[in-house]
């Protein structure tokens, strides 16, 4: 590996080239194809809600907080006009719009069909079971606000 900063002799260069091609060939084609397909998710029009809080990231760096936060994983997504708070319980995902208001939530898995759940008059919704693959939530309030969360993996 030292050849990077050394002078590359022909044999070194050829050996490095062999290694580079082998590294690429070691990657299964389906893995690469999945990456290419992900581009279908670009250019989404809805207002994006960014992940602004994740309790699991808290505990990773601050073990002292774990007693209070470990039992329930909590996530918060924030967009300019709507905040979505999520709590992961044993068998379901509980959410609420803030400010509280009714609407619908479309659960969009990266690799499957979407489902829709209602948000009640105070903006609460339940997703059951918890999606096992990456998904995002397209949240629409009856007032016309729409916010799309970043990808969530639980």
């Amino acid at each position: 590996m030292s050849f990077v900063s050394d002078r590359w002799g022909d044999d070194d260069l050829l050996a490095a080239l062999r290694e580079a091609v082998r590294a690429r060939q070691a990657v299964p084609a389906e893995f690469v194809e999945a990456g290419k397909s992900a581009f279908a998710w670009h250019n989404i029009d809805a207002e994006l809600a960014q992940l602004t809080y994740d309790s699991s990231r808290d505990t990773r760096y601050e073990p002292s907080l774990r007693a209070e936060t470990a039992s329930v994983r909590a996530l918060t997504f924030t967009s300019p006009h709507l905040t979505i708070e999520l709590e992961v319980s044993e068998d379901s995902l509980l959410g609420q719009f803030v400010p509280a208001q009714p609407g619908t939530v479309r659960v969009q898995p990266a690799d499957g069909a979407e489902t829709t759940v209602p948000a009640d008059e105070i903006g609460c919704f339940v997703i059951r079971p918890i999606p096992s693959r990456p998904f995002r939530l397209d949240c629409r309030t009856t007032g016309g606000t729409e916010a799309l969360t970043g990808w969530i993996t639980l």
Partner: protein
């Protein structure tokens, strides 16, 4: 005029919705994501899970990566985080009664992720340089690095080059490879400082 295939140009094109540029980025850096997953000893299903998350995060964030050259580093860091997430989730299922701190695996692979990044960037640069060589050179070098390497007689028959000129052609093609802009960053030290840097070997 060849297309500009620098990372910066690719990222710009992706921002304009260019699927081809996106594919090129995936082709180039999938080995990086893959090799980091192997460092964390994930099984195939978990690797696919990590890959899926990393690519989706990349779709989302590629527009906001200010310095395109930072893309490989961003991918390495994101992949590492996703590997740790998957490992934690697996341990939670296996030992539901564990207190949370026990769910956090140590990170023995952390040090080597940096090494994977360096190697993956170098490998990607080499592959990009190879891909841009004239056909004849690319064919010859590809044959020379295949495993097992074919006899010169076979190379001669396949490519229609006299056996005696394979050696000189090889040298000339490697010379062209060295001049590839993709390799500029990696070869910079070797041009002037031959004697100084060469003593370490």
């Amino acid at each position: 005029m060849r297309e500009d295939l620098s990372v910066t140009a690719l990222v710009t094109r992706v921002g304009e919705g260019d699927q081809e540029a996106w594919n090129e980025i995936i082709e180039r850096y999938a080995p990086l994501v893959w090799s980091i997953c192997l460092r964390y000893q994930l099984d195939r299903q978990d690797i696919d899970d990590v890959g899926q998350s990393v690519w989706l995060l990349l779709v989302e964030h590629i527009g906001s990566i200010r310095e395109a050259a930072a893309l490989p580093g961003w991918l390495a860091t994101t992949t590492k985080h996703e590997c740790l997430r998957v490992l934690r989730a697996g341990r939670r299922q296996e030992y539901p009664g564990l207190p949370p701190e026990e769910q956090l695996p140590g990170d023995p692979a952390a040090v080597t992720v940096e090494q994977e990044l360096i190697e993956a960037e170098r490998d990607a640069a080499l592959r990009a340089a190879l891909a841009e060589l004239p056909d004849r050179c690319r064919e010859l070098l590809t044959m020379l690095i295949s495993d097992p390497p074919p006899a010169y007689a076979q190379i001669s028959a396949t490519l229609g080059i006299a056996v005696g000129s394979i050696g000189p052609t090889r040298a000339r093609c490697l010379g062209r490879l060295r001049q590839s802009p993709h390799l500029a960053g990696f070869l910079a030290d070797g041009v002037e400082g031959v004697e100084v840097s060469g003593t370490g070997r």
